[in-house]
Symmetry: C2
Subunit: 422 residues, 2 copies
């Protein structure tokens, strides 16, 4: 690694940030004026706007509409550099991260490595029920959804095709609700009048939730509104339905079997191997238990932020695994490190401010809970759209995504109905 | 296959069209008012606008900007249906095509299966020097180009990294010229100021052509203009340079060795296995020799159009493998079959009308030869852009592509700089 030789020589403390998601990127930006060398490491070349991944997975947006090269985003920050490589582990004794490209030394380390899917001990389900965390996941899900209709058309009505146009989404949180609603839009609207041997509108779309209701983090009234709307779009919402098994032909629930060629997983997350391997205590999903300043109790120079951090707000409520939480942690840690490096007092303990919850529920509808504000239906959708366009990076992305949504809304079409990678 | 049972019963003659490129799609559309059942079969779900594939490969456009679901394009045509499956062969004795989804019977058959890359007997070169025919090819090439810079940055200046930022494009036709010019744009403009350990502008980009000059189908003056402009952008144009070997570390020419991590193939095409296996004579690149009406001499019910057809214009010149030629053949065969099915006289022999040749040569420049009209530089580029936007399908694609080009021109950026699929 050149970095070690060439850059350590500069004698400025090096802050290594692993992961350029919402948390890592925010941490890097908060260090823009710090007397530090900031090294951002990510296995991908792009930052992904995860809240809209489900729209790539359901053929509404192209990957490039919601992802940007990390080094382009940090181009204007003179003290930051970006390396694309996979981080394999942390050697806390040697103050080094080991990567596929060799070891990289750090003075301060921020682990912002995000979350992976958790199949609750049933890793064998993964190939049959992919989750949605990366652009690759989204393109894989897009391929599965669109291919299911093509295979059914090819087989035709004469053959029994059990479950080829049955779609099961496991997990009734925002991602599951958004996926199920968008698949219903595809089946009912976008594919209308394009098939000869099947009727896509007759597809079954099931949203399966083990708990007593969908959208558990939302107020009752909003969750009930979402469930009603999903039902109206033809999504069968099954609550209290526990998954016992998943295979290539469908899903087995405690109450019975659903034949389905396409099963998607939106039920559980856990911390990735990197976070789970850190020298600290972990909670049951592998997240590192951090101190009030988000550092590891025995390693004040190592911070964990975002989905990998098990931190409880001073108020007592756990912090949700959403973009605003990761960003707040990133900003906090960046500021803390900047103060530490310049000898100033540390900031007070991290305090999460929950802004609210949003989720779309199919064509032109969303549920929004923002402080005292509660919206449903079309007003909710407009608000949801404005918020998401606002948080996209760059005028170009905002304009293109807004345009794509307007076009989809007017024409009932989807802009990226491609099966690629086969 | 349901098609055979359910649809043969309708008793209308069935025209099967294999491949939904420019030729196949045009043939299907020409049969819109024929008393026939039209079945379009393609292994992909999308029609690809191949002339702009190099822009996907060089991160300027997203796949969805230049590809559309075939069944969406034929949605309005009541007598047409689309099946997504791979065609494995033609059983001319049984009047059936065999597919991965089972056999499909035909009364009239149009093979419009396009071309594959030809490595002139050196198929071992293919993994090291991919060609550009499909969206998957384009995304693979995009990944290779962008990853080369990332790997070089990771290794840093201290390590010798011979050829990591050397790009060799083999073949000086329009595709090779466009790829080389666009890679130069990436290296000189789009990546500027984003790397710390390498200078992308110092990359070597070589365009290697075995013949005496690039763009052999263009007039001398235009080819010379293109070569001059490429040189000005820093592309080393090597003519009379014969490739002897390609491996993971570079290219061996008759005159010497070039270390290069990225080699792209734009040198030769041949017909695919399906066309090469048809019951007819073939030329040396596997194209089927067809009669003056584009049918096989012994099988008047089987037609071959587009890149797979070896046909000589009545004038004597061979027909180039470009979109307008495929479209003209598709329209001709569609019309011929429609006449045949309604008992009318056949049209006169197929006659190719060559409209012209166009190729971009990097940022804001193109060479255009259209009848007496010859354009170079910026006027050529404007004309090239207008023509290509005009031929894109749908207002949405035209608008988005035009906007992307305008944005790229103004900002020097590329809209889809993503490494995916790793």
């Amino acid at each position: 690694m050149a970095q070690q030789g060439t850059v350590s020589g500069a004698r400025r403390p090096r802050v290594v940030i692993v992961g350029a998601g919402f948390g890592g990127l925010e941490a890097a930006r908060s260090l823009a004026h710090a007397a530090a060398e900031v090294v951002v490491i990510d296995a991908k070349n792009h930052h992904t706007f995860q809240p809209l991944l489900y729209q790539v997975a359901t053929a509404a947006l192209s990957p490039a509409a919601i992802a940007w090269p990390i080094r382009h985003l940090l181009k204007g920050q003179a003290n930051a550099q970006v390396l694309m490589t996979r981080v394999l582990g942390v050697d806390a004794a040697a103050n080094e991260v080991t990567t596929e490209g060799g070891p990289i030394a750090y003075d301060q380390l921020v682990i912002a490595a995000g979350a992976a899917h958790s199949y609750f001990g049933h890793d064998a389900w993964e190939p049959f029920a992919p989750g949605l965390k990366t652009l690759e996941d989204a393109l894989d899900i897009r391929r599965r959804i669109l291919s299911a209709f093509e295979r059914a058309e090819l087989a035709g009505e004469s053959e029994t095709a059990p479950g080829w146009t049955t779609f099961v989404v496991v997990g009734g949180g925002p991602t599951g609700v958004e996926l199920a609603g968008a698949i219903a839009e595809i089946a009912r609207d976008a594919l209308k009048s394009e098939f000869h041997h099947i009727d896509p509108a007759a597809s079954r779309i099931l949203l399966v939730e083990a708990g007593p209701r969908i959208l558990p983090t939302f107020p009752d009234r909003l969750a009930a509104d979402a469930a009603r709307r999903l039902a109206r779009y033809g999504v069968e919402v099954m609550t209290g339905a526990k998954v016992v098994d998943i295979d290539a032909a469908g899903v087995t629930l405690e109450g019975g079997r659903i034949a389905a060629a396409t099963v998607l997983w939106a039920a559980g997350v856990r911390a990735g191997a990197l976070t789970a391997g850190l020298p600290s205590e972990h909670d049951r999903v592998g997240r590192a238990r951090v101190a009030a300043d988000l550092s590891l109790p025995d390693h004040p120079e190592i911070f964990v932020i975002g989905d990998g951090a098990a931190v409880t707000s001073p108020g007592g409520a756990p912090i949700p695994g959403i973009a605003p939480a990761a960003k707040q942690m990133g900003a906090y840690v960046g500021q803390l490190i900047a103060r530490r490096l310049s000898g100033r007092l540390p900031p007070p303990p991290f305090r999460y401010r929950h802004a609210g919850d949003l989720a779309t529920v199919g064509r032109g509808a969303a549920v929004v809970k923002l402080g005292a504000l509660e919206l449903t239906g079309f007003p909710g959708w407009l608000f949801w759209g404005l918020i998401h366009v606002y948080f996209l990076i760059g005028l170009r992305a905002r304009f293109l995504v807004a345009l794509d949504w307007l076009w989809s809304y007017v024409t009932y079409q989807r802009g990226a109905r491609l099966i690629t990678g086969t």
